[in-house]
């Protein structure tokens, strides 16, 4: 009897723990009790839920902007929530499963297709020209938020890739930064020579040229575009094959073998910082709106930007990535108020001033104009960069396939294993394609 009871308890405990891992995550989804479902008039009090991903700095800016919004629209109250990027999607997906998405949310291109195919996002087209004024927007940018003939999102801003470098470290090592027309091979040489200089920081840490640039999926896409390939076809298939990925990963193979790139084990321990932001790595590829974060984290204003390397046919073939889309949940009870909020965040000049380039260069003309571009400020430099590289921007952004977020994460995970040497390039590519096939089906 005694044993039997204990046994049952043991089995039950085992079951409970296994399933505990399956629950949780949707904690703050509960939509505030709202009134006035008609939504038409301006006097019924309405509460909107609004979520975004980002850090404290972004939260402070949003709160400032929303205070302004609530002042202008006394009948609308905005309930906010924010979290970091990976957890953001965990929360949204659980909400989507329960048809309880926020009224308005920040959205990313990577996940747009999944949510649209299953009808989770509101078609904003009927509100454009009514609540939403897109007259200050570039046509192609508005178009990037259209899927299945629905305006499921509208981008707040644009990003493009850039090479950031730290002139202080280069001066110390005595290496010249790459010239503007540098190629991928030139960049390899640059990385190797900075590392070979053998300089150390004040704390005695060796200075490296940069991280392994093949470790980021978007750089692979940028390279594919340079090679004249369309990464993703409209039917969801890939415009590249195993050999393309092997070739790209192989470009930095010698650097990895010679330990000329920033060591992965140290990089992991520095998270959420990185070699570049602790001033131990002289260069890094990233999105241009990262400049604000880089100067804040590294403590130096002296960070320069260059366009991406030139491809094999002499072109840089860059693209503007529409970012920080705003979308409304299809389940919203207040579509018109949601559209009003979206319009405010997209086009109000004051919002443009509050955010600067921290979400990328604003898509709306008036918001761009409203930014206080102090000479040499972060905002001014990001805007200047996008203007300077505009001639190189000749390609449309690769439109992410369904499951993009997952295949991007898988690429990053495998890149870490590659850096540790626990997989070979061949195993990397084989695993990635097997996983990608499952995740995009």
């Amino acid at each position: 009897m005694k044993r039997h009871t204990l046994k049952a308890a043991g089995v039950a405990a085992a079951a409970a723990l296994a399933l505990a891992a399956c629950s949780g995550g949707s904690g703050e989804a509960d939509p505030e009790e709202t009134t006035g479902g008609e939504g038409g008039d301006d006097t019924t009090p309405v509460t909107l839920n609004f979520t975004w991903w980002g850090n404290d700095d972004r939260a402070a800016r949003y709160e400032e902007a929303l205070d302004l919004f609530e002042e202008q629209h006394p009948n609308i109250t905005v309930q906010t929530a924010f979290v970091d990027f990976p957890n953001y999607w965990t929360q949204r997906s659980t909400e989507a499963a329960g048809r309880a998405l926020p009224d308005v949310m920040q959205f990313d291109l990577s996940y747009l297709r999944e949510y649209t195919e299953n009808g989770h996002l509101l078609d904003l087209a009927p509100y454009v020209g009514e609540q939403i004024d897109l007259s200050g927007f570039d046509e192609s940018l508005v178009e990037s938020g259209v899927l299945e003939d629905q305006q499921v999102g509208i981008p707040t801003s644009t990003n493009t890739l850039a090479l950031f470098y730290n002139p202080n470290l280069l001066e110390q090592t005595g290496i010249e930064p790459p010239a503007e027309d540098y190629t991928w091979e030139d960049y390899n040489e640059f990385l190797a020579s900075v590392t070979e200089a053998g300089q150390t920081t004040a704390e005695g840490q060796p200075i490296f040229g940069g991280a392994d640039y093949t470790n980021t999926f978007w750089f692979f896409l940028q390279w594919l575009v340079q090679e004249g390939k369309t990464p993703f076809n409209d039917d969801g298939t890939f415009g590249f094959d195993e050999d393309d990925m092997k070739e790209f990963l192989g470009m930095a193979e010698d650097l990895r073998a010679d330990k000329a790139v920033y060591p992965v084990d140290r990089g992991i321990q520095l998270l959420p910082l990185g070699g570049f932001t602790v001033n131990e790595s002289a260069s890094e590829f990233s999105w241009d709106n990262f400049l604000a974060g880089y100067t804040a984290d590294s403590g130096t204003e002296n960070i320069e930007m260059l366009p991406v390397p030139t491809g094999s046919d002499g072109e840089k073939a860059m693209f503007f990535k529409p970012s920080m889309l705003l979308s409304a949940g299809a389940n919203t009870e207040h579509p018109e108020q949601a559209a009003t909020l979206i319009n405010f965040l997209l086009t109000d000049p004051e919002v443009g001033r509050i955010f600067g380039t921290s979400k990328g260069v604003p898509a709306d003309e008036e918001q761009r104009a409203a930014m206080e571009l102090e000479e040499g400020s972060v905002d001014a430099r990001v805007v200047a960069y996008e203007e300077a590289v505009a001639d190189h921007v000749t390609e449309p952004v690769p439109v992410p396939v369904k499951g993009f977020g997952s295949i991007e994460a898988e690429y990053k995970r495998l890149a870490e294993e590659l850096a540790y040497g626990t997989v070979t390039i061949d195993q990397f590519v084989e695993t990635w394609f097997a996983e990608a096939q499952m995740m995009t089906q």
Partner: protein, 318 residues
């Protein structure tokens, strides 16, 4: 719970059949009992049993949270066993359970024996040693642990001061497992308290008699303490083993949810979480959950089967 069952069930059965009136009163009592239980029962069926059944169904489907589940039969299960990361997660968790649990129990028993002697400030010592158990599973401790074991962290510095240059453990795939084992061993307080209670139950006469017969401390430990403690040891072993399979929060925090570096901290539950909530493959994740239920169930069963060879209940006359 077990004791109550025996007392209440054997009592009325052996008694004479109660008259109708009493039986009715008993039934009314039972109804009241169930009424008081109902909040718990409701929670159990709505929040535990229901979701478990749902996940059992989902384990045989493709379900991405967005579209309706699609029946795929045993596909998820067959896929599991050819998934290298599943094998990796099973391996990582297996090593953790096999190494972490015994080391933790040995530490708990050793400290319990030290604390079993009467001396001043004993209450304070017990509380101090128990404290890590209370906070060990928290997010903050995982963060502190990570800070201790990174490059130039306190552990690295201690290593350097004694001439060992092991660097930061967090970024070294070979050193992450020792780091997690240390984290669990450090939380030996809970089994220690149970061991202490067990040690107090051992009659002093046994030791006195053994002393008279000339037994030394080692012999007393193996011939008296261990056998007398075996039910408690069994309980702790079972509980800690199941507990070890549960490791999630600390691994999630220390690896930033990735299971890295190089998959060395890809614990089973972490991989399950990744599949379910990062890749949105709920069917696959549910299949993993049920494999874990079955494995832990089998291990529990084996423990109970083996217990008759080494666990001595004082009432059984062994």
């Amino acid at each position: 719970m077990a004791l109550i069952d025996e007392a209440t069930l054997t009592g009325p059965r052996s008694a004479v059949r109660p008259p109708d009136q009493r039986r009715r009163r008993r039934r009314a009592e039972a109804a009241a009992g169930y009424a008081f239980l109902s909040p718990w029962l409701l929670g159990f069926f709505a929040l535990t049993a229901g979701p478990m059944l749902a996940s059992l169904y989902l384990a045989f489907t493709n379900y991405n949270l967005f579209a309706s589940p699609e029946w795929v039969g045993l596909d998820n299960f067959t896929m599991l066993f050819s998934d290298p990361r599943f094998i990796q997660s099973a391996k990582v968790t297996g090593i953790y359970v096999l190494v972490g649990t015994p080391v933790k129990l040995v530490a708990a028993l050793a400290v319990a024996m030290l604390l079993n002697n009467r001396r001043r400030g004993q209450g304070l010592y017990r509380s101090v040693f128990y404290a890590p158990s209370l906070i060990g599973a928290s997010v903050s401790i995982a963060i502190v642990w990570k800070a201790m074991f990174i490059d130039q962290g306190i552990v690295d510095k201690i290593g350097q001061s004694v001439g060992v240059n092991w660097g930061g453990w967090v970024g070294n795939p070979d050193m992450t497992m020792p780091m997690f084992v240390l984290l669990t061993v450090w939380q030996f307080g809970a089994p220690m308290v149970i061991f202490l209670a067990g040690l107090k139950q051992i009659p002093a006469e046994l030791y006195e008699a053994a002393s008279v017969d000339g037994a030394g401390p080692v012999r007393k430990f193996f011939k008296i303490t261990l056998p007398m403690l075996s039910p408690v040891l069994f309980f702790n072993l079972l509980l800690e083993t199941i507990h070890s399979f549960q490791i999630f929060a600390s691994a999630f925090i220390i690896s930033g949810g990735t299971g890295g570096p190089a998959g060395s901290t890809l614990f089973y539950t972490l991989y399950l979480y990744q599949r379910g909530f990062q890749d949105f493959r709920m069917g696959y994740a549910s299949a993993m959950a049920w494999v874990l239920v079955v494995v832990v169930g089998i291990i529990t069963l084996l423990f109970f089967r083996s217990s008759k060879f080494w666990v001595h209940y004082s009432g059984e006359g062994k």
